[in-house]
């Protein structure tokens, strides 16, 4: 005897899987890189505006960029990370989107 459910799903169309949910969920990070031209006060102001950071926290990230060459400003879903990078580029900071290890 054949199940009635089986007959209703004959020849199902299986779309090609391009990425797994797990891959999509891999967090992305927004990294700001050192640039000898941008003013420290300007970079601090941008961090406050884009990420809503306090002045102290923004200065901490700015100094990290200045002294270590880069600082991770945000980590999370790709779409939002892209938006942050776009905003940072709008302020002419050197920012990139990186997949976390």
């Amino acid at each position: 005897m054949q199940s009635s459910i089986g007959s209703s799903v004959e020849n199902p169309v299986i779309e090609q899987e391009t990425s797994t949910a797990e891959e999509l969920d891999v967090p992305w990070q927004v990294v700001v890189h050192n640039d000898p031209v941008n003013l420290m006060s300007y970079v601090t102001m941008v961090f406050q505006k884009v990420f809503g950071l306090t002045k102290e926290k923004a200065e901490k990230h700015m100094l990290e960029v200045h002294q270590l060459g880069r600082s991770i400003l945000w980590c999370g879903m790709r779409e939002r990370a892209e938006l942050y990078v776009q905003q940072l580029h709008g302020y002419l900071l050197l920012a990139t989107l990186e997949r976390t290890n």
């Binding site: 000898p36 031209v37 003013l39």
Partner: protein, 163 residues
């Protein structure tokens, strides 16, 4: 040259003709057409991934171009005040409306980055604030980068002070 904040604007007074001319050159200095190094810096890569970069060029770069162009247009309009300095060698006053301060910060930054990329200044040169008098176009470029940075610093300080 004097900087002060007025009720609804940032005022740069006692602006001598040389510095006024440098300010007039801000919009022109933002133009990166034909200068590969400057274009690469202003429109820097968003990631190492080639696919992300190519999508970025199509969808994001045009938005950034519009934003940068809008900032330089605003600055150009404000700079028309300097054309009112009728007498040659007379000092001028420039008033930057507070609502245009973001556009000024952006355009000054575009100009600084474009000039620095064009002349490929080293970190040492950019930090040398005791450089000898201007003797070449390159020296003038470095002076512009420092002077525009000075104006940016003034705008940032006054905005922070004003809350």
């Amino acid at each position: 040259m004097e900087f002060r904040r007025q009720q609804d604007c940032l005022e740069i007074s006692e602006l001598d003709p040389f510095l006024a001319e440098l300010l007039r050159q801000v919009p022109e200095s933002c133009n990166v057409e034909g200068v590969e190094a400057a274009q690469q810096r202003i429109f820097s890569a968003p990631a190492k991934d080639a696919e992300i970069c190519s999508e970025w060029k199509v969808y994001v770069e045009p938005e950034l171009r519009r934003l940068f162009h809008s900032a330089t247009e605003t600055v150009s309009a404000d700079l028309e005040q300097l054309n009112g300095c009728q007498k040659p060698f007379a000092n001028c006053t420039l008033r930057i409306p507070l609502e245009n301060s973001d556009a000024w910060l952006n355009a000054l930054n575009q100009a600084r980055l474009a000039i620095a990329a064009k002349y490929n200044f080293t970190d040492g040169e950019l930090c040398d604030h005791y450089r000898s008098p201007i003797g070449s176009r390159r020296d003038l470029g470095l002076f512009q980068v420092n002077f525009y940075g000075f104006v940016q610093e003034f705008i940032l300080q006054e905005l922070a002070r004003g809350g």
